[in-house]
Symmetry: C2
Subunit: 713 residues, 2 copies
Amino acid sequence: MNDGSGHSALTPQRDFARLFNPRGIAVVGASTDNTRIGGQPIPILQECGYRGGIYPVNPKYAGIGELKCYASVADVPQPCDLALVAVAGKLVPDVIRQCGKAGIAFATVFSAGFREVGAEGVALEAELKKAVAESGVRVIGPNCIGTMNLVDRVYCGFGVGFKNPNLKQGPVAFVSQSGGFAYSVVALAESEGMGFNYVVSAGNEADITTLELAADFLERVEVEVLVLYLEGVSDGRRLRALGARALELGKPILTWKAGNSAIGRAAAESHTASMTADYELYRAAFREGGFIEVRDVAEVVDIARVFLGKRMPRGSNIGILTTSGGSAVLMADECDRHGLTLPHFADSTVSAIEAIAPKHCALGNPIDLTAQISGHNEEFNQIVELALNDPNIDQMIVRYGTVQGARGAAWATDLVAIVNRVGKPVIVSLGRTLDSSRAATDIFDANRIPWVLTPTRTALAAGALGQYAEKQRRYLATKARGLNRVVARQPIPAASTQRLSEADSKKILGAYGIPVAKEQVLGPAAIMALAESPLKFPLAVKIDSPDIPHKTEAGAVRLNIDNLSALKAATATIVANAKSYKPDARVNGVLVAEMAVGTEVIIGVINDRFFGPVVMFGLGGVFAELLKDVTYRFAPFDVETAREMVAGIKAAKLLTGYRGSAPLAIEALADALARVSLLAADHADRIAEIDINPLFVNEHGIVAADALVVLKT
Amino acid sequence: MNDGSGHSALTPQRDFARLFNPRGIAVVGASTDNTRIGGQPIPILQECGYRGGIYPVNPKYAGIGELKCYASVADVPQPCDLALVAVAGKLVPDVIRQCGKAGIAFATVFSAGFREVGAEGVALEAELKKAVAESGVRVIGPNCIGTMNLVDRVYCGFGVGFKNPNLKQGPVAFVSQSGGFAYSVVALAESEGMGFNYVVSAGNEADITTLELAADFLERVEVEVLVLYLEGVSDGRRLRALGARALELGKPILTWKAGNSAIGRAAAESHTASMTADYELYRAAFREGGFIEVRDVAEVVDIARVFLGKRMPRGSNIGILTTSGGSAVLMADECDRHGLTLPHFADSTVSAIEAIAPKHCALGNPIDLTAQISGHNEEFNQIVELALNDPNIDQMIVRYGTVQGARGAAWATDLVAIVNRVGKPVIVSLGRTLDSSRAATDIFDANRIPWVLTPTRTALAAGALGQYAEKQRRYLATKARGLNRVVARQPIPAASTQRLSEADSKKILGAYGIPVAKEQVLGPAAIMALAESPLKFPLAVKIDSPDIPHKTEAGAVRLNIDNLSALKAATATIVANAKSYKPDARVNGVLVAEMAVGTEVIIGVINDRFFGPVVMFGLGGVFAELLKDVTYRFAPFDVETAREMVAGIKAAKLLTGYRGSAPLAIEALADALARVSLLAADHADRIAEIDINPLFVNEHGIVAADALVVLKT
């Protein structure tokens, strides 16, 4: 790789195999003082069982421990695939360049003093990026605490997280934007029996990003579950692609998103933008993709374990079988909260169970076999199998007290056979402590039968599995049918201002077939000269100006005009008001529009710099703004997705028929949402924001009564 | 106590001291077979260290193990304060009578076969209650698994929960309506270091209830935290009294409420009643009293531990000090979710911290001292003390990595001194596993400094403490000012029907000074004869009949009548419509009312059989019914509480001034709420339900436009 000229650059690696499993590792800035960062990687590598070459680099030493120490990266023997860099921040760019020349393809930079420390650090980080680009070396960090490959026992890092050589291994990878926190999660997860195979602290992401690492791990066969700790990403589209890929592979991404303050966009022009916090966009991405939001270590452990069971429910129907009334009631409550349904068991199932169950048991759903069944493994498991085979049941939770000793092991072994026979997902909810359940859980672990502590945690994990399965079905169906465009790409008129007037905004909507109010823009003089109304009363009259977006505030709107003289009077008033409100406003004329009736909704678009265009939908006014009863989808989408949006708001019943009122034209509404999404996606290079507020929906159709399109600057 | 006549009854005990700490225990139905329930209590009592007399009762045996066995309860030596009853269900009433004669004041009945098994069992339970009443014996159960007093080592029960003689002890009592589940919680809580002093499975509560037990434990000095697992109680007033007492004592009741399905009251007459699930009433009781709702074992452990710290924050301002950016961000998010505020530290605090903190630390709130501070105990603790002394800060979360070995112990010891010096609550958030934090947590436990695992759990516990403190302040303030009645008790007119007509309903509201629309009930003929309107146009015209509560549905309402001939026409129409809708309806006349304007709200009352009268408030129509944006308070209450109700709905801004609209007359609204609550409380013996829907609120005042009062049958 090094051509010896001293000026070559590596071909930048996109395959991270050698980053996590290097044949040799240079430790640059190695030290004999292990209170210093540079002193820690070598003992950690050795104690944790690294089998490749370790090459300390530090001109101050001839050797470190038993190892020969090299004066420079250039002197390090080959093959050496990775440099761990612990020198002072300002020396890092040069070290990276040296790595490039020496043919070392990867570096993990522990050094701090980059953008996290302010302006000076930002400059140094820019210098580092330049070194990365020029050298071709792929870099994790700077300001990270390292990476861990538990499969091959390659621990490349420093700090307390790396000082346990016996960490449990498991098919779960973890990429984190907070290093210290990640390794604390790993330690806590292990104390509940969950192991990882790769753990990476991404640091400042000057080169390799969290999403790039996540995408790499997701494709690895040995990674079955991916955990992400995220504070923010700068590539929302890539996050969405990652989510889609996860659903294709059937792997979940357990996503712990922090930093979700609800601050809207300060500089927004439209209502839509000003009421949309970044977190809403993340949530939209999480909702459509293979992400499962988690909020604590216990959720990571439980949901990961349920997915490692490798069985997906066909639907959201769950059966619960327990021996304690309290846990039955709690799990029923919590399953309901997490979107699962507890159907009745079929009559034939109930009669078959009745023949075996103890007297006076509750044979609904949940089934509570009471403590009377304790120790009766055979009967208990027969009932499990009957219930699991019920056609109404997609997955089951089973809770049983006999989990200790030989009887517990025998029960577990039988249960494994049942689950394998029936093929539906079963989660064992432990009624005992972890320690006292070991006889059973060891067998479950060996056979990938998930178990979870406490009724509340069990129901949450079952709900996560159910919701993921539903998302996967929806994703595959959407993918299979493709995007059914309800309208082909249309040209939109050129505009001279960034913020379009209402009439110009509506023209753009009209181009995509979105119904707008019947209207005309007329000069004031032309209105004064009218002998009869050009449109049907009642009418709305508004100033049409790109410089007056808030027309009501300017006194430049009059509604419910029902005769010609009122129209003329209103025209005079609003023209005068607009003039006094903003004397230099450019006025296109007076917009005269037929009044619409119906329920007010709002459709909005934000073209986010990270996520691209996203469409918001909600009921108008306070429903959207005060109660935040809105939903988001990324553009473009088709009518089927639009229908989900309409059904997805809490107040959806107001549209579908409420207390005897007729159902409104929600098909037309869904059609308009799909059209708005196509408009936003087709012209994402030009459109920054759209507000259609209000759009009226009545029994017969829809009509956009006001609109604002803001173009990109 | 036994007068020897064979017919005496004990004076029923209200002091449970001897129930939990008996001088002697009779085991009725004792068996040598410990796979049977009757075989378990004696070995459990012995192995767990019970020091009083144990008296097996069973005519089949002469002795059980080393113990003499008695043929009958009558033969048992005195003193004997408690019988553990494990005989067949049908024999239980007689055993209780025998206990009464023998002077045994308490019995815990394990036997099943009572109301939990249906009609036959219900009869047996009635028989048991009779035996209780006649004998004076106080009974726990039947169908319970027993009681545990860890202080005095009295384990009276059966099953796996009682088979650990070394359960950790702590100042927490647990009363549960599910026995098996409770002991599973106890075992799990112990694995996180939490101990209990009393644990009781209340069983069927044929005599002693969960609330009676809870009230007893709450008064005990050795009980500092009470845990309740509740499925339902039949005395809501007592639940409320318990909550009030908890606030007076400053003890929290951690309440795990299950069985919260959202089914409304099937037989309800009013909207209010039909949209109110039982769980809403429990939540109202939990909100006003010293209850903290919990949903998992971890919450029980964490919140209990925080309260055992015995320090109450003065307000909701929290400071966070950590060494990991990830945990800082997460805790800030979660504290916000749990009602805590992160204020800025004072400038003087920040400068003082700056002088000690490592470079490039984030000194906002959270303060992130980064891993650079690791091992620098002194500096870290100096910063803790500076931050804790900040006048803006009411409580703090502290997270630090050096918790192992001598350094960890030294750090913990110093922190204890700081907390004692400053006197504000501090929660230590552990960044490591429980096992590796032991050096520090042992010191914290000995000094009552609370510690919690994971950022999410820590913030939840801190939030619970903050919310409890706020409730306590509010409770004490309310108690200090007393109930400020805005209106004295008023008589309400007699009524001949259960469901009053609109006009009669409004008369009752009027008696309590609640403003109603200006209106008259006139005969149709009188209206036809009118020469001018008796009221100001526009008018509403409605049929006034106790038999037509849903007037709109009957076509018996006309609104916005603005002239006399329209009034006459409308009268003719609604009389005809009412006649054809319900030919036999009793019609009082036609209600003519001045139209009200403003924002529609709904005020409702349900007089719950368990909780008594409760007032509901929300915005009208879909806000209340579809979005469930309503709030509840028990009647009676004063204007101050009413103001909290108004401010407590999500859409409160619609009343207090939204997007430039003028604030509405919320003082008048609060006054009306207080009046409704007084009406409901003063006449709780007669009033079953009230609906005031809508009540209009405008800038100048309020007016009830429609009302329905339903009396008790």
